[in-house]
């Protein structure tokens, strides 16, 4: 029993959530195995980001329960086991005067704890992690002077520096050019393969990520599919039209569709369904 539980990084059981009166998630049931690389896809406004926020304890479900590494989220305390990279545009003000080294160090703050300072070993770890994402030469550069793709690498490093067992990335490639996106996915795949870290990648770009992930989950209020990426690839077309209610090839390749403004999410979902 104990072993069985330990094999899941995240267990979501009958979770529902509504903003005010509007249902965003209905009866979600999903277990994410340890060591998997899950692509969580769905149209804008499908509740992907909400589900992530529930998994991170930033929101509380209206009903149902969530377990992280076998522990009910209400009692979960080992937050340093969990790394999170949010949509860059939302979470970070690019005029903030901090160097790459300072930003990546922040990833250790929760682990180091109150009233303690970073040790020499911690600082070494920060440097190693910066090297791991290929940003060593920018260690002392102000984060605001980097390109979107470089900044995103820095945020990955910040999430990785505490050696998390689970890394959640919420649309990390918004605003990053196509070539960098491919490199970025490759980097994630390598991480997952080599260090066995569980990855959850949230995206509405269905096309590009299927080659890299091990599992796919399709979400649009309800969970429409959750299984291996091979399974998904075989049944992709029927799966997609079931989820979006129409043929979606259009959306896969439409990168202009990326929008930083969340308040229009519902708008977008409506529009793409009418396309």
């Amino acid at each position: 029993m104990a072993n069985e539980k330990r094999s899941f990084a995240v267990e979501v059981t009958n979770v529902s959530f509504a903003y005010d009166q509007q249902n965003v998630l209905e009866d979600i049931q999903m277990n994410i195995s340890k060591g998997s690389f899950l692509g969580l896809v769905g149209p804008n406004g499908s509740g992907k980001s909400t589900l992530i926020k529930l998994m991170l304890g930033l929101l509380k479900p209206d009903s149902g329960e969530i377990k992280l590494f076998g522990t009910d989220i209400k009692h979960f305390e080992q937050w340093n086991k969990i790394g999170f990279v949010s949509q860059k545009a939302n979470s970070f003000n690019s005029g903030f005067p901090a160097t790459v080294f300072e930003v990546v160090s922040m990833g250790l703050y929760g682990k180091v704890g109150l009233f303690r300072f970073l040790s020499k070993k911690d600082k070494q770890k920060v440097k190693e992690t910066i090297a791991q994402v290929g940003m060593s030469e920018y260690e002392k550069t102000n984060i605001g002077n980097l390109s979107g793709g470089q900044q995103q690498r820095v945020f990955i490093a910040r999430a990785l520096v505490s050696s998390p067992d689970l890394l959640i990335l919420d649309e990390p490639t918004v605003g990053v050019d196509q070539q960098s996106v491919a490199n970025f996915y490759y980097m994630l795949e390598k991480l997952n393969r080599e260090s066995g870290i569980t990855l959850i990648l949230v995206t509405h770009d269905v096309g590009a990520m299927t080659d890299y992930v091990t599992d796919v989950a399709c979400l649009n209020k309800c969970l429409h599919f959750h299984g291996g990426s091979d399974d998904f690839a075989e049944n992709k077309d029927s799966m997609m039209s079931k989820m979006y209610g129409h043929d979606v090839h259009l959306l896969e390749h439409n990168h202009d569709h990326h929008d930083h403004d969340h308040s229009h999410d519902h708008d977008h979902a409506g529009r793409s369904a009418d396309d």
Binding site: G57, N80, S86, N93, M106, G110, G144, S162
Partner: protein
């Protein structure tokens, strides 16, 4: 020119108190600015005025308050004001900045009523509004000294948490930092620093010493640590230059300190390229 500050004991107290405030105000200001709370200093300084006026009013009838330094009542009001801002932030969740004009205008409004009830504007009040080089007593000096230690300790102990919270609040919460505790204690520390700083720079200009050095330092610094250091250096230069010129030209030090700050800021803006 400088010797005169060492000839007279009361000037020595003013000088050292001024120098300590030149450290305290920018050090707290750095965090206020990066948290987009620069205007908070204004709101809290105005509520400090209410406290001072209240203390002066009480002093007319209750002997205990006549003997009590009005600064204490000012600090108390400032702390209560910071808690009120926090509370109002919850009431107006989508218009958080509304809390600032509400507190600022209440501060002035109630303050003016208290002042009229006391005995109108007098010399004491002028000193509180615009600062004074000679109003600092030995007791004031020791109070500021004690606060310098307490506030420095606070910043050193919570430096990494405050930095993380300012840079990326969502991430900071995910990694388990106690947001509410940190935010509240930071606001209280801010309120206390404003309360003591107004003795030298004056209520109406406290916020300048908290924000102008930071605005200048921000344009020079690559890292957050650098910005903190530069802000303090600029704060010290402006306090020194401001106090000397105020004494020799018989001007209110609040004005001369702000003018020095402004000069430094203008030069730095002229000689740094905007990005």
């Amino acid at each position: 020119m400088i010797e005169v500050f060492f000839q007279f004991e009361f000037l020595r107290y003013s000088l050292f108190t001024g120098l300590m405030i030149g450290i305290l105000a920018p050090a707290i200001g750095v965090f206020l600015v990066v948290r987009r709370l620069s205007l908070m200093a204004d709101a809290l300084s105005h509520i400090t005025l209410t406290g001072i006026a209240f203390s002066l009013l009480l002093g007319r009838t209750v002997p205990f308050f006549a003997a009590l330094n009005p600064v204490y009542m000012g600090m108390l009001f400032s702390v209560v004001g910071s808690l009120a801002v926090d509370r109002l932030g919850h009431v107006y969740r989508y218009y958080k900045e509304l809390a600032i004009p509400i507190i600022l205008s209440s501060g002035i409004g109630i303050g003016v009523v208290f002042i009229s009830l006391a005995d109108g504007f007098n010399n004491d009040l002028f000193n509180y509004l615009f600062g004074s080089v000679i109003a600092v007593s030995q007791a004031d000096f020791y109070l500021v000294l004690a606060l310098l230690f307490a506030v420095s300790l606070f910043i050193i102990l919570f430096y990494k948490e405050l930095l993380f919270l300012s840079f990326d609040e969502e991430q900071a919460i995910v990694s388990g930092l106690p947001r509410s505790f940190l935010h509240l204690s930071f606001m209280i520390v801010t309120a206390v620093v404003i309360g003591v700083s107004m003795q030298i720079v004056g209520i109406l200009l406290v916020s300048a010493l908290m924000t102008l050095p930071v605005a200048a330092a921000m344009r020079l610094a690559d890292s957050f640590k650098q910005m903190l250091m530069y802000s303090i250096v600029i704060g010290e230069i402006s306090v020194l230059a401001g106090m000397f010129s105020a004494f020799h030209l018989d001007l209110a030090p609040g004005g001369t300190i702000v003018m020095t700050n402004l000069l430094i800021l203008t030069i730095i803006i002229m000689f740094t390229k905007s990005d």
